[in-house]
């Protein structure tokens, strides 16, 4: 009877929650159906497709009737028609810049051996002529004349902007102060961007009309339909400049080289590509970003076709990159819709999940029980909160950051980027790192000997002293030198090694061994050994006390029976003391290992790693790289060392758990 009365309300909640579950699921399904059928644009906004393999593309230009031509790093000119290779022409010259005439009938390229070559639109050579230097960029104007930027050498200052007619006759040339990256013509005006980070305009007679500063060296200039100039620079900025040299707007878009700026033919939007494979669509009027896409295969090297619905670019990695314009322009609105969708779906999902839990009596009981236990534990959680906040912020977050940073290029000069295993590859080829590993191994071996053996001998001798008072005072006396702070101890040894007034050299002098005097820490041959020798006679207090503790813990009866058997001290040491203080030996061994792999403060104080790399250790390298702002590289050194430490730590715990081991 009692059970049925009690079951009544539970049954009704079960029914309610079942309805809630079905309702939430139904809503979820219909919402998603609506979304995928109606609200989501078909296809991806940016799609890529490989076109050329095993070669890099330097530049791509559009030709009329769905054709384009690309210049590859292997000096091929490849012509495509509606996406298929029409003509692949190997050029014996080393080409440096590519352009096409406004009517699309002439293709022109500059070479590094001072020539301009012109082809017709079937890639048959029409003419070639000499200019006075390596061509860096060129353009052909409506009249078929070429504006060419060229120059000689790197530190000469002999850089020119010139204009040539169809036959190659030079119409004028103007010497400019610096190597020119990009050039553009508009009627008789010439615009160019040299490496000194400026944009300049020349009048038809070659006189300078104006110059304006960019944020960095300009890499590309394109005129717009309205007669303005678009330019992108090495630091990711894009400028729109009117023909009078007034900046209409400028936008910092990325940290990388801007290799492509182009106006879409239809609606005045601007498409920009950087060296990081990012693509931006900007509003032509104010330069505001309306769409952005990252992680594309290669940097866009030229807009090769544009129609009302899509843009196609060619990338440095030889891919087609097609941008769906409607998708790009609707991206912001779509983003809002997606966020709202996600919110609603999460809400419905949680509702459905809790309703589901409530439907199954067993689960429901567990959930209620867990909730109650969580509530009952409030006080404990509150008391743990301060410590856990600190542990999470200062232990867990740095650990996660360290793991992440070691796979990035994180430094102060470049933008943060995921680089996979690059740091580790670089590390494996780093001579300083391997020199450091060699030194570290030597320090490890010697410190094991130093910290394992000497304190053990002292502990044995002190332990077996027959006079209790003497024993007590000797033990205390051996601890006294460790009152000197660690840093001071090292500074004292540095003083001892001092070439002028150091104790060691003075001692040699007095002993008549003056010829052995040395700049102990300044000589590549002795520096590391001097650091290892420091602290002589190496009676580490910690190890000494640990051994003493181990010996004190041995059952006296063992010693007594050994004494009755007439065991001599030597065999007692090997047969009783050593086996029974093995845990202590292992502990000290472990600490010596940790100290050698992780300790670099001493080396820093003694020599800062020098002279050369004579005393470098990986930990020190990590510290120096951190101080220098090379965080990604430093973190990868840290990770390598951490893996070594972790492997030994885990091995130690496993080994200790083996049955039969003390």
């Amino acid at each position: 009877m009692a059970t049925t009365v009690k079951d009544q309300p539970i049954r009704s909640t079960l029914l309610t929650s079942r309805w809630v579950l079905f309702g939430a699921l139904a809503l979820l399904v219909s919402l998603n159906a609506t979304y995928f059928l109606l609200l989501r644009p078909p296809g991806n906004t940016v799609e890529s497709k490989p076109a050329l393999r095993d070669t890099r593309v330097l530049q791509a230009v559009a030709l009329p009737s769905q054709r384009c031509v690309v210049l590859t790093s292997a000096n091929h000119l490849v012509m495509f028609s509606t996406g298929n290779v029409l003509n692949d022409k190997a050029v014996p010259d080393s080409l440096s810049a590519l352009t096409v005439s406004p009517d699309g009938q002439r293709i022109a390229a500059g070479t590094t051996d001072n020539q301009v070559i012109i082809w017709d639109d079937q890639l048959n050579e029409v003419t070639r002529y000499k200019v006075g230097g390596r061509v860096t960029d060129l353009r052909i104007d409506d009249g078929g004349q070429a504006a060419v930027a060229y120059g000689i050498g790197q530190y000469t200052g002999r850089f020119f902007v010139g204009r040539f007619d169809l036959s190659g006759k030079q119409l004028f040339k103007k010497q400019v102060g610096a190597d020119v990256n990009a050039i553009e013509v508009d009627g008789q005006n010439i615009y160019y961007a040299p490496v000194n980070g400026k944009l300049l305009a020349l009048a038809p007679d070659g006189k300078r009309r104006w110059e304006i500063p960019l944020n960095a060296a300009g890499l590309v200039i394109r005129k717009t339909a309205a007669g303005n100039l678009l330019t992108g620079d090495e630091r990711g900025s894009v400028f729109l400049v009117n023909p009078e040299g007034r900046v209409l707007w400028s936008r910092r878009l990325s940290e990388y080289n801007i290799r492509m700026v182009a106006e879409t033919s239809s609606d005045g939007h601007i498409v920009v590509g950087d060296d990081d494979g990012k693509l931006f669509v900007l509003n032509g009027a104010d330069g505001m970003t309306v769409f952005q896409s990252a992680g594309n295969p290669g940097s866009a090297r030229g807009l090769v076709s544009a129609d009302a619905s899509s843009l196609t670019m060619f990338t440095s990695e030889g891919h087609w990159l097609t941008l769906n314009l409607a998708g790009a322009l609707g991206a912001q609105r779509q983003g809002t819709v997606d966020t709202i969708m996600l919110g609603i779906e999460l809400l419905l999902g949680v509702t459905a999940l809790s309703a589901l839990v409530a439907t199954v009596p067993h689960w429901r009981a567990t959930a209620v029980h867990t909730g109650r236990r969580l509530r009952d534990s409030r006080k404990a959680y509150l008391m743990l909160l301060p410590a856990f906040s600190l542990i999470i912020i200062f232990n867990y977050i740095p650990t996660a950051m360290g793991l992440y940073y070691s796979f990035t290029n994180f430094n102060l000069a470049e933008p943060l980027k995921f680089v996979g295993f690059n740091n580790f590859v670089k590390l494996s080829r780093d001579d300083f790192f391997w020199a450091g590993i060699g030194n570290m191994i030597l320090i490890l071996i010697t410190s094991v000997a130093k910290e394992l053996i000497v304190p053990l001998i002292v502990a044995e001798l002190v332990f077996w002293l027959r006079n209790a008072r003497l024993k007590y005072w000797t033990r205390t006396a051996f601890i006294v030198p460790s009152i000197v702070p660690g840093l001071v101890g090292i500074m004292l040894w540095k003083t001892i090694y001092n070439a002028h007034s150091g104790l060691l050299n003075q001692l040699l002098q007095t002993a008549g061994l003056g010829y052995l005097q040395h700049a102990w820490l300044g000589d590549e041959k002795t520096a590391l050994w001097a650091i290892i020798f420091a602290g002589f006679p190496w009676i580490g207090t910690f190890a000494f006390l640990i051994y003493m503790g181990g010996l004190l813990n041995i059952n006296r009866e063992l010693f007594d029976s050994a004494a009755i058997d007439g065991t001599n001290p030597w065999s007692r040491f090997w047969n009783i003391d050593m086996p029974l203080i093995r845990p202590q030996l292992r502990l000290i061994l472990f600490f010596a290992f940790l100290g050698s792999v992780q300790g670099y403060a001493g080396v820093w104080i003694f020599t800062q790693g020098g002279p050369g790399s004579a005393t470098y250790v990986p930990g020190l390298q990590m510290f120096l790289q951190t101080a220098r702002g090379e965080y990604g590289y430093a973190a990868s050194i840290g990770l390598v060392l951490a893996m070594v430490v972790l492997a030994v730590t885990v091995a130690r715990f496993r080994f200790n758990q083996t049955p039969g081991e003390a």
Partner: protein, 279 residues
Amino acid sequence: MARRYFWSNTISILILAVLLLLSFVPVFMMLSMSIKDSLMIELDFWSPPIPPVWSNYSRALSDLVFPAIRTLSVAIVSIIGITAISCIAAYTFARLQFFGKEFLFYLVIFIFLVPGVLTLTPSFVLATQLNLRDSLSGLVIFYIGGGQVFAIFLLRAFFQSQPEEMFEAARIDGAGELRALWSIAIPLARPILITIGIMNFLGIYNDLIWPLLMLNSRDLQTLTLALQNYSPANEKMPGRPDLGAIMAGYAFSSVPTLIVFAFGMKYYIEGLTSGAIKQ
């Protein structure tokens, strides 16, 4: 038989005496040079420090007293922070029953597996991002954060060994958990608290690498930073550092550790020799 013991004992004493003497060499050198005229150190290294030149100490003191005060205040505030926060957490783990207790404790001791080399660089980046660099309080916050895990680990074991009946009685008398912690657990945990205090003091007092990264301003230098490039000019020998004053500075900076050892030596030695920290 007795004769053999006599000889082996004598040889032991002799070896120990030699080793003891050798390990005191740097200390003797420091003390004798610290009361010697700097010119005499350079010209006649072996001359005895007679008469003692105490002005070395006044010079070193005037140079190093502020860095020393900074280091001591950083150490004291950090130790108070570490023990206060870790006591509460350790007590919670040792005395309270709650949901997820084991999991949360594993979360704490998992940090033992993370070597310090892994977190140095990211901690530095974190300090930059949290705007904690170049300030002593930033240094203190990192020491408090970094000292938690070991302190919780040691204190929890200690609190667990205390008999539950005492706490039961306190609760019956109406004491809250914090009251029981403050009035019963902490007073009884004095030895382990002193051990934790000493360990952290030595760690913070001797730390060079972290202050070196964190602090740039000269007027924030801690004692180790000031000492590692302490090189006052020698007025009598231009171009050479004043070795007497430097050694006096080293001796001066050993005073705080001397005091700590004098007070805490008993606990320190007991802690290490009792086998409490064996594995």
